[in-house]
Amino acid sequence: MELAEQIKQDIETAPIILYMKGTKAMPMCGFSNAVVQVLNQYGVEYRDVDVLADPEIRVRLSEFSNWPTIPQLFVNGELIGGADIVVELHEKEELLPILEKAVVSTA
């Protein structure tokens, strides 16, 4: 499968997927780490994709999402945002309802 096709499929099928630098076990960038730390607080299951594994992932991802930076968090196929937005939604207590939607849809 072409990489662009793979990315589209992953985003559309994974309830929660995070494109990041590094892995959730070892984030390689402060912005990616910020999102991992927030998600960890909710204890939700999510898929992580390391964009550093292949430079083309980043290019194809940004083409698909029309979003220039990493990390990018998707829930139910929808872009929630990058680190600023995830942290801001978390602080406003608006993130949990979004994550719960994903958990419910897979239950």
């Binding site: 960038c29 402060g30 979003w67 220039p68 929630i80 945002g81 600023d84 937005i85």
Partner: protein
């Protein structure tokens, strides 16, 4: 309009200022060059050497954000900033507020 920077605005910060001002007509625009905070940052350091991409943090208060969710607000800013992203700007942290939200915060 206020622009905060420890020294004179860098060329890149001024470009950011121009583009954001033109697109969003903000009532408040604060730009901080945070590149110095990321000097020990692996990819940051590499990018700085390769293309001088800096880390910036902006706070924008604009009526144009009214009715837009955070993702859309950030998209509008990324569009305004255009090709600076990935070039002169490596990372852009954003706080995007409507005039009304800004008033509530400064109570």
């Amino acid at each position: 309009m206020t622009v905060h920077d420890s020294t004179a605005l860098s060329t890149t910060a001024r470009l950011l200022q121009d583009r954001i001002t033109t697109a969003l007509v903000p009532t408040v625009l604060e730009i901080e060059d945070e590149s110095h905070l990321h000097k020990g940052h692996l990819h940051g350091a590499k990018l700085q050497e390769a293309q001088g991409g800096g880390h910036f943090s902006v706070t924008i208060v604009s009526a144009k954000f009214e009715g837009l969710p955070l993702v859309q607000r950030h998209r509008v800013v990324y569009t305004a900033v255009g090709d600076l992203m990935g070039g002169k700007v490596h990372a852009l942290s954003m706080k995007t507020l409507t005039p009304e939200e800004s008033e509530q915060l400064s109570l």
